[in-house]
């Protein structure tokens, strides 16, 4: 079996790994290595060469993102690193595992990332309900400070970094990186226009990098072991490992670290144990609530950015939501659209007004009040709202992904609701 660096400290009982156990298992070696002789430019090169891509959903190359941060000292002042621990996308439960089981891995990754981009302040933006994780992180920050891994003059290198935990007050849009920055500034979490990109003008107008928890957790291993090693962890095109999760009616729902390029079938059948007794697979969202459905014919695809993209979906967060044969696809999509409608920040019209309209149409269909023209209305909305560029941020197009693919794969279910004037699945729950 190949190496699984991200979860090596995750214990069967999911108890947190403290600083002693973390160090005993090779922790803070990446940081020691960097502080003893790697320049920020050296670290950047290593991360670029590793081909690490962001694990927050969009898959943007991490090294390239970091390289946009100005490294000259023409405009002196703060630079910021932010860890995005908002994890509010329905069906997503991977970052929680890393936060609760191995907080020092994230902190070490953040120190290395901050060092690389020259940031002197770092924030962990964590969703309101992750109380245990927030407490563990605050404790871990104090432990790291006591060991001179954090704070002034880290390990005698002359580099200093302050780190704070900011707990959110609850709103999905806070996960969008520019909305997150607005929220961290104490404002309503409305996304900002890009450009300027946060790398140049982010938190309080200063250069800022926002990275996902899982992305940052990879950094200590990459710095310590190097890009070739990291590349060798993946089975195909993509480097490294990934946390994959499965929820829904499967035998053994859960979250596991596996090599990039593991097939969907392996995740669903070997790890999740296949469908729960008495249920058949209809389809699944491969990477959280804002990704397009895939179906049985896609089971042998590797979980890689390219292959999932070619199949018409996105790897997203890598946490799958399974639709079974006794769950109504219309109800499934309605639940998601209602979530996105509720969580819309209200800034732009197609999202603020269009999503509730879709939710209403879906509710009508599900309640047996659907009209034959409703499917055209939904298709039209998918075209308008789903097009990147018609809305101020990616929330609304993301919301359309499960709907547009459900209309493609489960159209007969929508049609039957309208023809019968009732939900054929009623009573299944």
């Amino acid at each position: 079996m190949s190496e699984l660096p991200l979860t090596r400290n995750v214990r069967p009982d999911l108890s947190p790994t403290g600083i002693k156990a973390y160090e005993a298992n090779g922790g803070y070696q990446g940081l020691r290595r960097a502080m003893a002789g790697l320049s920020p430019a050296d670290c950047l090169q290593v991360v670029k060469d590793s081909k690490l891509r962001g694990r927050g959903g969009a898959g943007f190359p991490t090294g390239m993102k970091w390289s946009f941060v100005p490294m000259d000292n023409v405009s002196p002042g703060h630079k910021y690193l932010i860890c995005n621990a908002d994890e509010m996308e329905p069906g997503t439960f991977k970052d929680r595992l890393l936060l609760e089981c191995d907080p020092h891995q994230l902190i070490e990754g953040m120190i290395l990332a901050a060092y690389t981009i020259g940031a002197d302040v770092a924030y962990i933006f964590i969703r309101a309900e992750y109380l245990k994780a927030a407490r563990l992180l605050r404790e871990a920050i104090e432990e790291a400070k006591a060991k001179h891994y954090l704070g002034r003059d880290i390990l005698g290198s002359g580099y200093s970094l302050a780190m704070y935990v900011h707990a959110s007050a609850g709103r999905y849009i806070c996960g969008e990186e520019t909305a997150l920055i607005s929220s961290l500034e104490g404002k309503r979490a409305n996304p900002r226009a890009k450009p300027p990109f946060p790398q140049v003008s982010g938190l309080w107008g200063r250069p800022t990098i926002v990275n996902n928890v899982e992305t940052l957790c990879n950094i200590p291993h990459i710095i310590e072991r190097g890009p070739e090693w990291f590349g060798s962890l993946g089975l195909g095109e993509d480097a490294g490992t990934k946390l994959f999760g499965v929820s829904g009616r499967v035998s053994n729902p859960g979250c596991w670290e596996m090599p990039m390029g593991t097939t969907i079938r392996e995740i669903l059948e070997d790890k999740a144990g296949g469908m729960a007794a008495g249920y058949q697979l209809r389809g699944f969202l491969p990477g959280g609530g804002s990704t397009d459905f895939l179906v049985e014919e896609h089971l042998d695809l590797p979980m890689e950015y390219e292959s999932i993209g070619k199949a018409g979906s996105r790897m997203g967060t890598g946490t799958m939501i399974v639709l079974d044969d006794q769950t109504c696809p219309v109800g499934f999509v309605k639940n998601l659209i209602e979530f996105f409608a509720q969580e819309s920040c209200g800034f732009c019209t197609p999202c603020r007004d269009g999503l509730p309209w879709n939710a209403q149409v879906l509710d009508d269909i599900e309640q047996g009040r659907g009209k034959p023209e409703d499917l055209d209305t939904l298709e039209q909305h998918v075209g308008y709202i789903g097009a990147i560029g018609n809305t101020h941020c990616a929330l609304a197009p993301g919301a359309m992904e499960p709907l547009q693919s459900a209309l493609k794969y489960f159209r007969e279910d929508f049609q039957r609701h309208i023809d019968d004037g009732a939900c054929p699945y009623r009573g299944a729950h």
């Binding site: 329905p90 439960f93 309900e129 109380l131 302050a162 609850g170 104490g186 999760g245 729902p253 939501i321």
Partner: protein
């Protein structure tokens, strides 16, 4: 500290010393006072369970920002309560994985037991019931929280024991 207080609007005195100390600790590493608006709302709420009009105005004065702006921030976020809530806030996840696993039945069982609908508080002030989006524990659906405790793989049968003595909790 005391010098600073003298220069502030008298409504700031509504806030307790403990609240002010926590808010000041946030202000200490912020570029300007209103930058800690969300932290400050959460601090006040952690002491008083909710944010009243009086608290909001006092806080706005203390943070040197318009009360209307702070109100706009407070009402934007799902977990800032601008109405009184009970001793224990029950959050029942209603997102997709929990919906598949029957969260509607869980919600109905809680409503039956406590005699309240979502958004309401029991007459004895013990519980407020609210829906919540995905709690990030979808493999253990259905999931709910009561105060700071999380309950996973919830069944209708477990509801009485959960509400009466928090049986089977895992820390949030």
């Amino acid at each position: 500290m005391s010098e600073q207080l003298h220069s502030l609007d008298a409504t700031a005195l509504h806030l307790s010393d403990a609240e002010l100390a926590e808010i000041d600790a946030e202000i200490a590493h912020a570029p300007y006072r209103s930058a800690v608006a969300i932290d400050a709302l959460k601090i006040v709420q952690s002491h008083r369970r909710w944010v009243s009009d009086e608290s909001l105005e006092a806080l706005a004065a203390y943070l040197e920002m318009p009360a209307a702006e702070l109100e706009g921030i407070a009402t934007f976020y799902n977990l800032i309560f601008r109405q009184p809530v009970g001793e224990n806030v029950i959050l029942v996840c209603n997102s997709v994985s929990c919906w598949i696993k029957g969260c509607e039945g869980i919600r109905a069982a809680i409503s039956r037991q406590l005699g309240i609908e979502p958004g309401q508080t029991t007459a004895d002030g013990r519980f407020t019931l609210l829906p919540i989006t995905c709690l990030g524990a979808c493999d253990k659906a259905p999931v709910m929280m009561v105060g700071e405790h999380k309950f996973e793989d919830v069944t209708v049968e477990r509801i009485p024991a959960i509400l009466e003595h928090g049986e089977g909790a895992t820390p949030g």
